[in-house]
Symmetry: C2
Subunit: 355 residues, 2 copies
């Protein structure tokens, strides 16, 4: 599969979305009268420019067109709200996870720490500034959505949709953080899948499609069709992310290999591995999982356990099944045919990608 | 002055606002299906109930009535969005400032730390959970504003107003954090007053009045009148806050005496004191300001310097002048007379209060 429809769709919309996004943030930067806030907005812009595939805003446009929307340029203008929301959540997420790199570049808190090192900025202060930067990006998201200029009835529903999406993602985040407090043996597969549903499936696929549908004034059957596609495919998306996080190529992912293991993330890979592990293997998982100082050798041992216990195969099979289910649901969906093609290819791409 | 109009106005609206606020959060809590999110929403509710004078939501209602609004109960319902925004910002602020107490009760991150101590929750994890709790409260704020049910045109303008308020407060927060990176001798009076304008005057007084005016569909002259009152009085509010923070009674304020000094806050009190200090006094200020481990004796010495250099008198006089200016601006303001009376009393109250 060459993903031709998908590639063409992204090639058409990503540059338009980027132009809107960057000019919005450049305008915000110009408005700052003090050097500190200018620096903070510049940092949000730097972070927004540092990569990312723009899956979410592109899906806002797809969701809009799939539901019969007739002003896709306006939808693209509105779609940057989703990317701004995404930047806001990533900036906070990187503080919470203590990640220093994303997309091969310093995260926002790390960048503040490096930038202000001459003023003896403590780590906590850098985190505070990054937290404030994230909070600012949230206000930008709402503003950008309103300023796209849809009629007031539509705008109110869309703003409500965007905040409901952020709310659900927040619940996913709380659950994700909280599961790390539990001993690994107490974390159940259904808990992990619930986090994936809230934090990835609803957030990365369903949310953008729903926002687009909302902007197009779609009926409930379109929302349901988007959910039937997005939830299974979105969970598969996260499973592939977890696999890449452990088995991926650091050069391609831009994230250090094993960071999920060092952070103690409760992925299905590790939960399944623990479930099927021998007592000796369980002991090793417990000793390494969540230890920042784990050595490369220890990380390799955990990877071996994930393979030997069948956890990797289990996740891959589940992923295939979920994608199949999601793609099948498109067949009779009340969605424009061209958009169906893009969504079907995206689902396949998701489980083939390497970063 | 017995503040009769003000007291009656607060006595009428605070219970209604509280009822709306608590039932909103209780509903959110009931909706949670996992114990972790239930615990987080419960914590937001606990924090919302832990006190606070409800100045901001009450001023939303005042701003609405002052601009001729005719559905004050609906405005009260919308006003809880401001209190939710406030809780969101306070939860984040307490993480940034590492404050363990607010209103005599544990702050949210501290409460998570205490609650989850049996799972060996690290401080950073408690901060992460609190950050996520704050992010959730932000989504609640927008939802509550939309759900108050004003017509779509008004709702869009109000949501935009609320996010512009949060944006400006964010710039104030960035400036506030950043000034702490500068040596005390490099911080200018105008920088400090700019933070007060953004973080307090616009946020605590102008913002609520403007949101109320927006909900009432007011003309621009009403917004201007509210600003002419709110900016000077709001700066005075912060100056009094700073004075209470250093010279207040811990039992009344619920915050440990000297915490502003230990945190290294760039208040006008300390900036003015440094400006007028002798070389020996400057040395002492530099040694104590921002040192978490400063002793009670050292805090007392700094307090003496603030008095001896005339910084305390300077702030008090500036405060009186600002309140006079704000109250005088009300005379010809196109605002309903009863509300003018409440605002005038509030301005006087602000500089007399002890907590």
């Amino acid at each position: 599969m060459a993903f031709e429809n998908m590639k063409a769709f992204f090639a058409e919309w990503v540059p338009k979305i980027d132009r809107e996004l960057y000019s919005f943030l450049e305008r915000k930067m110009e408005m700052q009268t003090d050097p500190f806030n200018r620096r903070v907005v510049e940092e949000i812009l730097r972070f927004a420019k540092s990569g990312g595939k723009r899956v979410r805003p592109v899906l806002v446009v797809a969701g809009y067109l799939g539901a019969g929307g007739e002003e896709p340029e306006r939808a693209a203008r509105a779609s940057i709200s989703y990317e701004l929301l995404h930047n806001y959540l990533l900036i906070h997420d990187d503080i919470m996870d203590r990640d220093e790199l994303r997309r091969g570049q310093p995260t926002v808190w790390k960048s503040f720490l490096d930038h202000y090192v001459k003023c003896e900025l403590e780590r906590h202060d850098a985190e505070s500034l990054a937290m404030a930067a994230g909070d600012l990006a949230e206000t930008y998201a709402t503003e950008a959505l309103i300023d796209a200029g849809f009629d007031p009835e539509t705008t109110v529903l869309a703003v409500k949709e965007l905040h409901e999406i952020a709310e659900r993602t927040g619940y996913g985040q709380v659950l994700d953080i909280s599961l790390e407090f539990l001993p690994i043996g107490d974390v159940r597969e259904e808990d992990v899948l619930r986090v994936h549903e809230l934090k990835t499936a609803k957030y990365t696929l369903e949310g953008p499609l729903h926002l687009g549908a909302r902007l197009a004034g779609a009926e409930e059957d379109v929302f349901k069709a988007y959910s039937d596609y997005a939830i299974p495919v979105g969970i598969a998306f996260q499973l592939q992310d977890d696999i890449i996080g452990v088995f991926g190529d650091e050069k391609k992912t831009g994230k250090p290999v094993g960071s999920d293991i060092r952070e103690g993330k409760r992925t299905l890979l590790i939960v399944k591995a623990y479930e099927n592990a021998t007592p000796a293997q369980r002991k090793l998982i417990k000793a390494v999982l969540g230890r920042e100082s784990a050595t490369p050798e220890e990380i390799e041992e955990i990877k071996d356990i994930i393979v030997e216990t069948g956890a990797l195969d289990y996740c891959k099979q589940l992923m295939e099944k979920l994608v199949e289910e999601g793609v099948a649901s498109l067949r009779d969906a009340p969605v424009e045919e061209g958009v169906k093609g893009v969504l079907a290819e995206l689902a396949e791409y998701i489980i083939r990608r390497e970063k």
